[in-house]
Amino acid sequence: MTRRAARVNQAGLLAVGLLLLAAGAAALARGLDLRPDLLGPAHAPLISSYLRQYPRNHRWFWPAAAGVAVLVALLALRWLSIQGATGAIGRLPLETDDRGGATHLPARAATAALEQDLAASPDLPRVRAILTGTPRAPRLILTVTLSASADPAAARHRIDQAIGRLRQTLDTENLPAVLHLRITAARI
């Protein structure tokens, strides 16, 4: 999940919510006969004869309706598709001065090393690491699942040490890390 997806979700929900609120409130106001001067009479069919004739008198109506439907469908599918995005970056450039040759490290290799490092502990059954951000300024997102019986202080110490080793390998003091701690249900 990326920050972009979070922003899009918020904006999308707000937009759809406002549309529904506007349409629902208008229909409600008409049904309750609050503003007959503006919205029309309450005791009238949902689709008036004028509305019924409208597409027949305006040739552009159905093509436009089809176009709007296709556009909305594409936008909604795009909205769905970004939900699965992790924002993971592909390759990290390690060499700042690449005139004598560049050095690259696949981000997957770095996260795999960290995962293997932590997986050695029996108290940490599941570890998932992702590098996001930009290749020049990566950020680490680490999700660690801990059994409920394990000592969280020891586990967190181990995790801090492991992150330190990854920072050492990437040769950066400044790899911001976000750790999500999860606890599995206790075995009965």
Binding site: G17, L21, G40, W79, G100, A113, A148, P152, A153, R156
Partner: protein
């Protein structure tokens, strides 16, 4: 392409030989340069061709000796090298790569006379250290970020990075709305386009809509109810978009440069596991509230006044171990579970 090399030892023997231009040339095949490069790269500490996946492939190809993958491009006296190699974890990869680059440049230069201008290195993997090289632990530079956060409060107001990191995602409502929107729009598009092109497709209940639109009136019970429902749904979505939500992650004391958070549910599981640890406690329910933790412990013992303190201590210790900062307000009630008949 093969390299034309002027061997370095010619100076020593120049006395007995005709002038250089009459002596002919020494051609070094690219394959040889590649071998020299691979050998040179393998000589650097902490660099190898030994990735776990690479091992088998390398062994079968090199006849038992693991080596980095190499390609060399030679043009006249100039060589461009591409290297794929593994670096032992957790050695600093950039420094190891620099050593490899320098060593390869020097070795290829002295053995073939080629000038290596560029060594591009792809670190194909970070290999687990062999048993003799232990994982060295770096000294943690504690930047003192473990400041006191409120007990179960979300990120403090000023901490922008943390707020962004633990921002609510709203995935479930977003996926639901997007899926409904997509389905509705696709069906509408199919219906409209099919009708325009003279096909008879019924993916939407057109006849029913037509019928309802004519017979139902705006002030009818059905339309008013639907309008009210749509209005309510709109309000719910707006509220979901605007409010931060209670399910925000709870921040824990941070390690150096690390922001840590735990979900409310995980916190509850961890504290419950701690609360049932004292002998005599048969079950526990924990409700982490905004300002304090309420622990309900059950016991089969009729008279056990010490249990309350024992549970409080266990939960307090677990809170500290998790790194829940701030003053802890823990309320413990011990109830006696009914004797089974």
């Amino acid at each position: 392409m093969t390299a034309v090399a002027e061997a370095g030892w010619q100076a020593r023997t120049s006395g007995q030989l005709p002038p250089p231009e009459e002596r002919g040339v020494t051609r070094i095949p690219d394959r040889v340069v590649e071998r020299i490069t691979a050998r040179a790269a393998g000589e650097v500490d902490l660099a190898s061709g030994l990735t776990r996946r690479g091992v088998r492939r390398q062994l079968s190809r090199a006849g038992g000796r693991a080596a980095p993958t190499v390609s060399v491009q030679v043009d006249g006296q100039l060589a461009i090298v591409r290297l794929g190699l593994a670096v032992t974890y957790p050695a600093p990869a950039r420094q190891v790569a620099r050593q490899v680059r320098e060593h390869v440049t020097a070795r290829v230069g002295e053995m073939t006379g080629l000038r290596v201008r560029q060594v591009d290195i792809e670190v194909t993997g970070l290999a687990r250290p062999s048993s003799r090289i232990a994982l060295t632990t770096v000294t943690s530079t504690d930047s003192g970020q473990a400041g006191p956060a409120g007990l179960l409060s979300a990120a403090p107001a000023g901490d922008r990075a943390a707020r962004r990191a633990f921002r609510p995602q709203r995935t479930l409502p977003a996926v639901t709305v997007a899926a409904v929107l997509a389905a509705g729009a696709i069906l509408t598009a199919i219906q409209v386009i099919a009708a325009r092109t003279g096909h008879t497709v019924q993916v939407l209940p057109v006849a029913w809509l037509d019928h309802t639109g004519r017979d139902q009136r705006w002030d009818g019970a059905g339309p008013v109810a639907v309008a009210a429902a749509v209005t309510a749904l709109g309000l719910v979505l707006i509220w979901r978009a605007v409010s931060a939500g209670r399910s925000a992650m709870i921040r824990l004391a941070a390690g150096p440069g690390t922001m840590t958070a735990i979900s409310r549910r995980s916190l509850r599981r961890s504290l419950e596991a701690a609360a049932i640890a004292p002998e005599g406690v048969t079950g526990a329910r924990v409700r982490p509230g905004r300002h304090r933790v309420h622990v309900q412990a059950r016991t089969a013992l009729r008279d056990a006044p010490e249990l309350q303190e024992a549970v409080r201590q266990a939960v307090t210790l677990r809170c500290q171990a998790l790194g829940l900062a701030g003053p802890l307000a823990i309320r413990v009630t011990v109830t006696r579970s009914e004797d089974s008949p």
